[in-house]
Symmetry: C2
Subunit: 382 residues, 2 copies
């Protein structure tokens, strides 16, 4: 069965203090429906990826709440797996279509974070962590800093090499009107920015963001009417331990290796076939490691390849994060996995405007929760 | 495709102050695996139904956390839809098998509530409610009391009639060694118990509970080896508005009517074919209304039929809540939907011991979130 993507939409990502979570979600849902040419009553189910609504806003039952906004009473689910909630929601939606349970589903990712204090947010995000890391005071920048230290030492990579990830993604962000940050940064800007957790500096870290993204997927005849049809060729998920200290390697995420290998195996697509991808660059080190785990770069060469421009729009081979990634487009955690799908769909349809990757036919999204504790990999093709 | 239930397990339900949520979940998962004759590495995915772990314990990413307890790194998901989280988790697990994405899945429902103060719990449970009802101070007992008032007035039903639900379910609870309350109550006990929200009294209300339940489901050849095989004939979900005031009727839940009608339609099973069912009796009024919405009783006769003994073990026709229901077995919210499946599976296998429904062949579970905002209906048959 072919699962096609009909309409897609994202809201602006950023500090959106003048809109409620409910209105933000509705904006993305209605825009995705409009783009699909469908009305709410033509949707069979809603899948919502969200991490923090309960913890920060004491609002559960988000699926039911949001179908009410659409004025329908279809089945609705909230799926949560930390920052991979969006990817996991899509995975369950895809399964429900393949099961012939539903024909057309709306998949929403939503997070509203910036209304809360930095301490509240830091504490809430640690909900994705392990007891041991919390007791040790190891927040996510701290945990990823450990990976960066291990990676730099093992492969003789410099802080400047890692900084190239942020430089690239900020450049891409200037081409995306939905991005939280639409300005460039230089290697020197990254190097001079405040230390967060050595060797990670402020400009190695993705921001706290508000945003929502939505896609309509379908297994039925609607898909034949789409110009430049894009479909989901693979949807794979895998997990790893919560704590870094329980893993064999600090410089590779087993969850990503496993999920992406399954996706490659099921589709026959190879890493070199990928034209464009959206990577979960919560920190600069994450993108470097991801490009290796996904098979885009050799071990130890991910950061170097990025620094050489091999992942950059207009001159790279496998373009990573044309949206600006989590770093520049922003990281409303539950929305990220769906925003990645929106970006890749636009790329494969040739509708990505100023940031269009030429002749993009096959794309991949890489959405991770915790410190790589869970990974959702999707392969899309035109 | 036939989806079979392999092993099932529940922990004791009650105030379990000497065990952590993690250990409680592990106990249920390991017991269900043992009952299935499978090892953790033979499971393809874990689906976790949980409502409050984030809000009460600041712990998200429960899927990943709990597969780590099993020592595997399979795909894992947390599904949330208030008190229907268990039923929704099973629904997504069933879809993933029908999609041929996974062959065997472990589905867990878990909630740990009693470690927290009454105020914390009340506040956390209101996370399933609407803004308007919260602003009005309408907690769930208050909202269900409104339904009870409307029902009693419309159908000339008395408080004593509603009390019969609790009397029946407490009687059933005396036959269930896992139940939180294993003692009988009389109509007079219910009538004399403290008023909570007129006309609902303490003994009309299900308790705050800890507990976990798990089932292993499979689409593959394993199922042929099971003695007394039980399979999931239907898994249907529907929603309704969050707020009672937005609904056409206070005496019927559209979510339940819609989901159960779909389940009946897809299976060809009729309400009168059901031998045994587990009903979401969060309040006595809920079971009365549910038996009507499910087609077991005529409109306005649900409570009367219960009072007449038509839903009681050993003398009823369609037996409701042999486990003791939410009222006597307990209501650890995320666990409830899975505990219902465990109970019906045991009934259909003829393994329910002292509370066995004779010749039970077809069973139904009715799991509801919020004030009927979401409903998950499963039909099981031997």
């Amino acid at each position: 069965m072919k699962i096609s993507i009909l309409g897609t939409a994202t809201t602006k990502f950023g500090e959106l203090w003048n809109i409620s979570p409910r209105a933000l979600a509705k904006e993305a849902m209605i825009s995705a429906l409009d783009a699909s040419g469908l009305k709410a009553h033509q949707i069979d189910a809603l899948f919502v990826g969200n991490m923090l609504s309960g913890i920060l806003g004491n609002q559960a039952n988000l699926g039911s709440l949001l179908v009410e906004e659409l004025g329908v009473n279809i089945p609705a689910f909230r799926i949560e797996g930390a920052c991979a909630s969006g990817g996991l929601a899509l995975h369950n939606a895809v399964n429900s279509l393949k099961a012939y349970q539903y024909r057309t589903a709306l998949v929403l990712g939503i997070e509203k974070m910036t209304d809360h204090s930095q301490d509240e947010i830091t504490n809430a995000l640690m909900a994705a962590g392990s007891d041991e890391e919390r007791l040790a005071g190891a927040t996510f920048p701290g945990v990823y800093a450990l990976m960066a230290q291990a990676y730099m030492q093992k492969y003789k990579v410099t802080e400047e090499d890692l900084a190239a990830v942020s430089v690239k993604n900020h450049y891409h962000g200037t081409l995306n009107s939905k991005a939280q940050f639409q300005f460039e940064v230089s290697i020197s800007d990254v190097m001079k920015s405040s230390k967060i957790a050595d060797p990670l500096k402020l400009l190695d870290c993705s921001p706290i963001s508000d945003g929502a993204a939505a896609v309509v997927i379908t297994s039925d005849e609607n898909s034949k009417k789409i110009k430049n049809n894009v479909y989901i060729a693979a949807s794979e998920v895998a997990t790893d331990t919560l704590s870094l200290h329980d893993r064999k390697s600090f410089t590779s995420l087993e969850s990503v290796v496993k999920a992406s290998n399954n996706a490659y195996k099921k589709t026959g697509i190879k890493p070199k076939d990928i034209d464009v991808s959206e990577i979960h660059d919560c920190f600069s080190i994450s993108e470097a490691i991801a490009t290796e785990d996904l098979g885009f770069s050799e071990k130890g060469e991910g950061a170097i390849d990025i620094a050489k421009g091999k992942r950059t729009l207009f001159k790279g081979d496998i373009i990573c994060n044309p949206s600006g990634g989590l770093k520049a487009c922003g990281h409303p955690v539950g929305a990220t996995g769906i925003k990645q799908i929106v970006e890749i769909t636009e790329q494969l349809r040739g509708e990505a405007g100023k940031r269009q990757v030429e002749k993009a036919k096959i794309g991949l999204t890489h959405n991770v929760g915790g410190s790589g504790t869970v990974a959702a990999i999707h392969i899309l093709r035109s």
